[in-house]
């Protein structure tokens, strides 16, 4: 195969699909290459889909996309060993269409998205792994080499949407490899339960869904978070921790997941369910300060391969879609004006990103990964203290309330000095400002 395309997109996840879709819609000759048997066969997500990013690409996606439930309730739990404290936000507003967030099952969703890409006119090549980039004598990227016979394919530009590990970009020296300090490993299970059981346990009806985000004792002292999302007739449950923490301790990821599932607040929600799949995937969580160079001579990075994940808000797929769309729009403009995909010309990609929520949000939280890594009290002390405080206040045992307040205050001070408490408040404010 020594064909020439306008653009090659590597990967058929949300980033690659958004890019290929936008290009194909504009009549550009695009080839998309995916290593899995079908799009989605390698991909893992919680998964919450944020409607906005997809709506900008496919306004009527709700008519045909495989959506599980629209989310009407969000719970935030801080867990201690056998308790949790937290908040629930449920709104009738979220129940009214058009809905803002949905749970999805990625293997199904990616297949659907890919169908739309192909209908728009892109050519998709599955079961094909991109091994390397082809370059001309000046070093400009002019195509890819794949693991098939005569596997050289040429294009004016290559969009790398190959996900968190981004081996293609790393091996070509376009970016540094991800590191244990900038990546989290998440493990996940899909547990099936009858729809009526899911509805009853979460107080839902019809297509309504609820999600729980968790932190605290479940991450066993590591920087990490857990999640539990309702699908139509199943529950997705998982936990992710930073690799730099994971490698320093002695619990396997499976044990972490099993301990989380056994927590007294979580176990009843999944009781009697039938696990049908176990998955694992990396999440690039380095944030703004870990971002690589995003474009160069003939190439661009989009989605996870660029490190576009907002770990605080658990957003990734939307940043992937928006960055994929922006990379495509940059190329469409260049191709129309018959200008080459040089680094200088591709700089508008970065400008588009800077003007969007992608970079603005990443910048907002740039200090948080470092703060959490250095200031372990946020993970080790506060979840337990908060739970203990609630317990002290709510337990009716003849002790007067003023006394109880004092007890709580002392417990905080025992673990963190007064100055430490003030410092912590400042650190957290600075890291998320």
């Amino acid at each position: 195969m020594s064909e020439k395309f306008d653009v090659i997109v590597v990967g058929a996840g949300p980033a690659g699909n958004a890019a290929a879709y936008t290009l194909a819609k504009a009549g550009i000759n695009v080839l998309q290459i995916e290593r899995g048997e079908y799009p989605g066969s390698k991909n893992v997500q919680g998964a919450i889909l944020y409607a906005d990013a997809l709506e900008r690409l496919i306004p009527d996606f709700r008519d045909s996309a495989p959506l599980e439930r629209h989310i009407i309730e969000q719970r935030m739990w801080v867990l201690a060993e056998d308790s949790y404290i937290g908040g629930h936000y449920r709104s009738a507003e979220f129940a009214r269409p058009p809905h803002n967030r949905y749970t999805i099952i990625r293997a199904r969703f990616d297949k659907w998205f890919s169908d739309q890409v192909q209908k728009a006119g892109a050519l998709l090549l599955c079961e094909t792994t991109v091994k390397a980039l082809l370059r001309d004598v000046q070093g400009k990227v002019i195509g890819v080499e794949v693991d098939r016979e005569d596997g050289r394919i040429y294009a004016d530009a290559v969009i790398l949407a190959d996900g968190a590990n981004s081996l293609v970009a790393t091996r070509a020296g376009l970016r540094q490899d991800i590191r244990a300090e900038t990546a989290a490993l998440a493990v996940k299970e899909v547990i099936f339960l009858p729809k009526e059981t899911v509805d009853a346990r979460f107080n839902l009806s019809g297509q309504e869904g609820a999600v729980i985000e968790m932190l605290g004792s479940i991450s066993q002292g590591m920087v990490g978070t857990g999640f539990l999302y309702t699908n139509k007739d199943s529950i997705s449950i998982g936990i992710g921790c930073m690799l730099s923490d994971l490698k320093r301790q002695h619990l396997t990821p499976v044990e972490l997941l099993e301990r989380m599932k056994a927590h007294p607040a979580i176990a009843p929600l999944i009781a009697g369910g039938e696990p049908r799949e176990y998955a694992a995937h990396l999440i690039p969580e380095g944030g703004y300060d870990a971002l690589p160079q995003l474009y160069g001579e003939g190439w661009m990075l989009v989605g996870d391969s660029a490190g576009f994940v907002n770990a605080v808000h658990r957003e990734g797929s939307n940043l992937a879609m928006t960055s994929g769309q922006m990379a495509a729009e940059t190329l469409i403009e260049l191709l129309r004006e018959k200008r080459p995909a040089t680094a200088a010309n591709l700089a508008c990609y970065r400008a588009r990103l800077d003007a969007s929520f992608v970079m603005k949000d990443l910048k907002k939280y740039r200090r948080l990964p470092e703060t959490l890594d250095r200031q372990r009290q946020f993970i080790n002390d506060y979840p337990a203290l908060l739970n203990q405080a609630a317990h002290t206040m709510l337990r009716v045992d003849g002790v007067d309330k003023r006394h109880k307040e004092k007890e709580i205050f002392n417990a905080f001070r025992e673990r963190r000095s007064l100055l430490g408490l003030l410092g912590d408040a400042y650190q957290l404010w600075r890291a998320t400002r």
Partner: protein
């Protein structure tokens, strides 16, 4: 890894669908002696979510059949860079039904 944990992992992997590229492991240990003699932490054994790595009296072995292609072993072997990691050939490996 204790045998009960190993059993837990296996039970989970049993739920998954794979197309195994028989005789062509996509991950290899570069130098088994480095694992056996220089790497004291052997963190790959603990961190692999699929229990592909095991250690017996210091010698580390790897069976990639249940691999979830996450990349963890590649990243955490950051002291000795002793993991030769690649994706399986196109179409092979894990096939998520849900993901």
């Amino acid at each position: 890894m204790p045998s009960n944990v190993q059993a837990q992992v296996e039970k989970k992997l049993y739920l998954n669908r794979y197309r195994v590229d028989a005789g062509r492991p996509h991950i290899k240990i570069k130098d088994a002696n480095v694992c056996a003699t220089r790497c004291t932490a052997q963190q790959c054994v603990v961190c692999c979510p699929a229990g592909c790595w095991s250690s017996e009296s210091g010698r580390v072995s790897l069976i990639t059949d249940g691999c979830l292609e996450c990349g963890t072993c590649r990243i955490i072997c950051d002291e000795f860079h002793n993991v030769d990691w690649d994706y399986p050939r196109g179409g092979f490996g894990i096939l998520y039904k849900f993901g």
